[in-house]
């Protein structure tokens, strides 16, 4: 049963990453569930080593497949769905919400690299393996993603100060 314990121990990390990746609590947990089920079904393929990196690579594949796979579990979009109450999950800080909003505007591939390196603290090599791309691609996505996030954050600051002036 240690395999179950090992996987269970990784759930909080998987949830944090999925939350940052999808920007939606329910969607993130769907992705984690999908990842866990997939991991168990392919357990025989796992070679002892970095369990966390293996789980992240499964999550990456599920995330990419979710958009086009036959079994779609998609995120409720604000425009189409009725106004249902949801729990406030993040801190209320306006600054952090603003940060999350800017993060969500990055391309998915840039966001993945930023999160694996910056949030999960994985090595560039592990990040490249998880995403199935050369390390040079990781570095260029990291570079463009950070630059774009910087521009977005600067833009939203401008917007904010602009509003303050008008007020």
């Amino acid at each position: 049963m240690s395999r179950q314990a090992d996987i269970v121990a990784e759930i909080p990390r998987l949830r944090r990453y999925a939350r940052a990746l999808t920007g939606d609590a329910a969607c993130a947990d769907d992705l984690v569930q999908d990842t866990l089920e997939r991991a168990l079904s392919r357990w025989s393929l796992w070679r002892p080593g970095n369990l966390r990196a293996w789980l992240f690579s499964i999550m990456h594949n599920r995330f990419v497949n979710q958009a086009r796979g036959p079994r779609i579990v998609d995120c409720p979009g604000d425009e189409a769905l009725p106004d249902l109450p949801t729990r406030a999950t993040q801190t209320d800080s306006i600054e952090l919400r603003d940060f999350a909003r800017c993060l969500s505007q990055l391309s998915e591939v840039q966001r993945e690299v930023l999160l694996l390196v910056g949030l999960e603290d994985l090595s560039y090599e592990d990040t490249a393996k998880i995403l199935g791309v050369p390390i040079g691609t990781v570095m260029s996505r990291l570079s463009r993603g950070r630059e774009r996030l910087r521009a977005l954050l600067a833009g939203s600051e401008l917007e904010e100060s602009h509003l303050k002036v008008i007020k």
Partner: protein
Amino acid sequence: MNAPTISEQELHAYADGRLDAARRDAVEAWLADHAEMRQTVAEWRIQGEQLHRAFDPVLDEPVPTRLAEAAKPTSRLPLGMAAAIAWLAVGGIIGYQLHGAAPPQGPQPSTSLARQAALAHAVFSPEVRHPVEVGAAEEAHLVAWLSKRLGADLKPPHLAGQGLELVGGRLLPGATGPVAQFMYQDKRGQRLTLYVQRDAQSSRETAFRFAKEGGISVFYWLDGHFGYALSAEMGKPDLLLIATAVYRQLNP
């Protein structure tokens, strides 16, 4: 100007704290002469700190039961195969009951609400002669019976406004106990089922979620102690309209 060759890659590695002491010193020396880049690198680091401040609280949240369940080894089957096995199981239960014995209690697979509902829809909606156990003509009896079995007041929503009339309902075995299935039908005979499951654990989520199982679209949500799933072979936008109407009637 010392160390003229500092690549951008190395600056990122510096910001991420991944350089050895010698290279770190070299980068720092270079940055001392490049104020603009120094500022940029500082902002990269702030991005990393903000990532942690924004998302680290997730680490402290309790793990939802369904995820802990999903980490347990279970076998998941394709829908078609699961439907076939459900039929076999029904046959097996009937066989047992004929012998006066209790049905075998196997371990319940942790299949999702949407999957169970889609399976029940796939099994019963094509039924011509026996789509429901109790028909809409006996609606009062149907409601009283299912309410009693689920231990809560149930009321099938009225969907005449959506062009659907109640066919009736039935009781089904679910992962957490008895489940009610209400069936509706439009003028062309297309069927829609509402699957209502009482959840013992008071996990409370209220967002609509959408899943597609085979050709069956399912909107499902949790509300208080109930899980609801609406299944039909129709497009997502059409089903969403109906799901919204159902939700509003259940939460007036």
